[in-house]
Symmetry: C2
Subunit: 307 residues, 2 copies
């Protein structure tokens, strides 16, 4: 998975992952109306809206970017129907050749972690294997330590999948835990986690210098991103926080290695809600506006990377 991601980034010259985090207000009225006409004012209608919205986005950007990242919460809020839309979105993106990074941030232990690992490992029933989620990688939370991570590593190994573990998140209050200084090592907690992540990924290396075990490092922490790039040279970074959350390409230079690799930048609202942010676009232009936003983001990142 990690080599395929690196190859696709090289081919597209776009280290961009499109965050599929639709909220109700972003969904064009024509899609809302069609789904409500079919399903009434129900959770099924909401789920159908998400699927329809995502298909237009995926169709319009799938030749430009290597990956999409559906944010599980935006689907789960609508209950099991919403969760089905999440799985349908992942399956549709996979069929279009995109790498699917499931932003689920799961974290649990032992047999429970093994069950969650079905996200990337599938599940066996009477000798038959099922893969209901169609994700190539998922995000994970490290608070419970390696017991929560190991079952996923086994799946990375067995099925060539990937994980991205939260190291330094892009939200203001992440400092409440992540920046706490540790007594013995003098490290900040997130640096300690970075070292754990490096260790977890050490024997899951791909052919191109990066491990199947990556790290989530928020774009809003530019200096920390630069330092973490040096601290964990074999950990691929998934970087949220570009665009709507405040970071620009210039802030991200240090997140990439000397060859301009090692990092994929997420943008969600900046791409999927682009049709609402420019008077040139109407609600028919959901896909066209997303495409233009991807091209602008690619140009912004290329300028920084000198590509």
């Amino acid at each position: 998975m990690i080599d395929r991601l690196l190859d696709k980034i090289d081919q597209s010259a776009a280290p961009i992952v499109v965050g599929l985090d639709p909220v109700y207000g972003m969904i064009p009225e024509r899609i809302r109306r069609a789904c409500t006409e079919t399903h009434g004012n129900t959770l099924r209608a909401a789920a159908a809206m998400l699927t329809a919205f995502n298909r237009e986005i995926i169709d319009s950007v799938c030749d430009l970017v290597p990956a999409v990242k559906p944010q599980n919460a935006m689907y789960e809020q609508f209950g099991p129907e919403g969760v089905r839309a999440y799985a349908e979105t992942a399956a549709y993106a996979a069929e279009k050749g995109l790498i699917v990074i499931g932003d689920v941030k799961r974290g649990d232990i032992a047999s429970t972690a093994a069950a969650y690992a079905a996200h990337i490992g599938g599940v066996e029933l009477a000798g038959e294997r099922f893969d209901p989620w169609r994700e190539d990688a998922v995000t994970l939370n490290p608070y419970m330590g390696s017991d929560g991570i190991t079952p996923f590593l086994d799946c990375c190994r067995a099925h060539d999948k990937g994980v991205f573990i939260l190291v330094r998140t892009s939200n203001p209050s992440s400092s409440e835990l992540q920046e706490m200084r540790l007594a013995e090592s003098g490290l900040a907690l997130y640096e300690h986690v970075a070292d754990l992540v490096s260790g977890w990924g050490a024997d899951l290396m791909g052919r191109r210098g990066y491990s199947r075990v990556g790290a989530v490092v928020g774009a809003t922490c530019a200096e920390q991103g630069r330092a973490l790039r040096k601290r964990m040279p074999h950990s691929f970074f998934l970087v949220p926080g570009y665009g709507a959350q405040g970071a620009s390409g210039q802030d991200l230079k240090g997140f990439f290695d000397k060859d301009g690799r090692g990092c994929i930048v997420n943008s969600s609202r900046g791409i999927i809600a682009a049709w609402q942010k420019d008077a040139r676009f109407g609600e028919a232009d959901l896909g066209a506006a997303a495409r233009e936003a991807v091209l602008a983001m690619r140009a912004d990142l290329r300028e920084v990377l000198g590509g």
Copy 2:
């Protein structure tokens, strides 16, 4: 929710939550066969097994215990069909008068956390409110700080719901992060988190001395449980790790306050797989064996609490 939980514990004299974490091997052959005959060897069949299994457990223990705790991972591993079984289980337990603690351990930020908060707050569509999950409380992960918690606190306030935030988990590797000593305060990380949890819960107090914001504290850390009980006197504890994970009633004495309150102890396998652990029982005795295990656990805890 927290007062109702305390009342129900007093009425039942059983500070016990039944963990609904069925794994395939625990499901009686008669249930497996019936579901496979109806649905074939499919994920829908697996989901139907979980629902049927849980209904028997719930029917057999709902007059003895105040609460159940379905473990989300055990359902999610079967994809959207499994997730539907999770929601059906929660709804069935709620109809039987049980408090439902959704063990989801979610953790995310801002608008994403607000979306996950639908677990306890429901979701609005065109002015109509839907409650697809039917949970009274959920477990949460604190790694991202208060940004990830605040939206849930709003739901606790608006809808009288609860949360249990991971403080000290019962697994061996929890020490990799949670026991790290902090430089400035000299606290272990989990103590620092305990203080955060106390703060988050300070203005969400119920009438009986406990907050709607509780803590997950593993039963396998007896001394730490005792110290945490003193450190966070208004935080109700959800305690995993009893029975199959190694802790006995005697280990748990310090988790309760001086009145024998402030704590609910989870047992999963010890109750729901009891039918497999005693030659007196056959697969028809799923419910009867669970009931007997609950009564034994109640007696064990009563001995410690002197009730």
